[in-house]
């Protein structure tokens, strides 16, 4: 009898966990798909469809180490653009300019979810709440 109850509880728990996970998965997919559209409209001309950039003029978005180390600063880059800063990506330095955007925090979250989970990157969801926090720390 006891065993049965434990079994039922265990099954129930695993169902709950599974459904939670799939909800998270759905949220991720929503951000990722929305981010793809924003990327195509706002970033792809410069960074290219495969995230490879353009020669030494525009950096690729494939440097997982750079993206991980600078994760909290990416929102500021996208919102305020980049000027007169030397950035080293995949061992090459870039000193181009990236324009500022008028994207809302939720859209920045979506496009960064797309970027950090494409082109060989796999960093998980970037939430809108996280972007709000990150934007407070922009220099």
């Amino acid at each position: 009898m006891k065993l049965r109850v434990i079994g039922a509880v265990a099954i129930l728990l695993s169902v709950i966990i599974a459904s939670c996970q799939s909800e998270e998965q759905q949220e991720f997919q929503r951000y990722y798909n929305g981010g793809k559209i924003i990327y195509e409209q706002r970033c792809q001309n410069c960074h290219s469809a495969k995230g490879e950039g353009l020669s030494n003029l525009i950096p690729p978005l494939t440097d997982a180490t750079y993206l991980k180390t600078n994760k909290a600063a990416l929102a500021c880059l996208v919102k305020y653009g980049i000027k007169e800063t030397i950035i080293t990506i995949n061992g090459k330095s870039y000193e181009g300019a990236m324009p500022a955007t008028d994207l809302a925090p939720v859209d920045i979250a979506k496009v960064l979810t797309y970027v950090t989970n494409s082109f060989g990157n796999k960093m998980g969801i970037v939430t809108s709440e996280q972007i709000d926090k990150d934007l407070l720390k922009c220099k």
């Binding site: 001309n45 410069c46 290219s48 353009l54 020669s55 030494n56 003029l57 525009i58 181009g96 300019a97 324009p99």
Partner: protein, 219 residues
Amino acid sequence: MKKLTGALFIILLYTACKFNAADTPKLPIYGNRDTASKVVNGKTVIDSVYQTIPSFKFVNQYGDSITNKSLNGYVYVADFFFTTCPSICPIMHRNMLKVYDDYKNVSDFKIISHTIDPKHDSVAVLKKYADKLGISGNSWWLLQGKKEETYQLGEKSYLVAVKEDSGTPGGYVHQGWFVLIDKQKRIRGYYDGTDEKQVDKLRADIKTLLAETNTNIAQ
């Protein structure tokens, strides 16, 4: 028997190829055209006169003076851009690099890119851009000159739109056309430089055009 069918097959293939080669369509000639009569062997004949690219004078990324004469004997592709362009230029030059890679070692082919922002894009800025783009030598020239001359050349000769407009990103309106010019300085093709498929067509058409003009000269 098997050998015989094999041989037949090869012969068929060969004739099919030959047939196709004779059928290769020539590229159209664009631009305004006029007729002119001239006297050949005592007879008056009517000739089509095609619009050609007129004389110009610019400097390239090395500071060398470049005129329309510098392009005598070359098939070339022209476009208009500026180095700080936030919109279509990166796509255009990502695509133009493919053309450059295909033909950079072909001695009678060139690419010229006119800056429409000569105030910012000095010779030094263009050289730096060329270096970062990864181009060297003389098969791709970035040309700088008087703004009015560049704009005139774009609108009246290459028949593409270029103008200043503070309302658009970067401050200029321009279209991403790649214009293909033959050795007689006639316009032979327009390709949307932001469209990979059209650029692939350009890459094929350059080959056709190089072959065509070469035979013309041999005749």
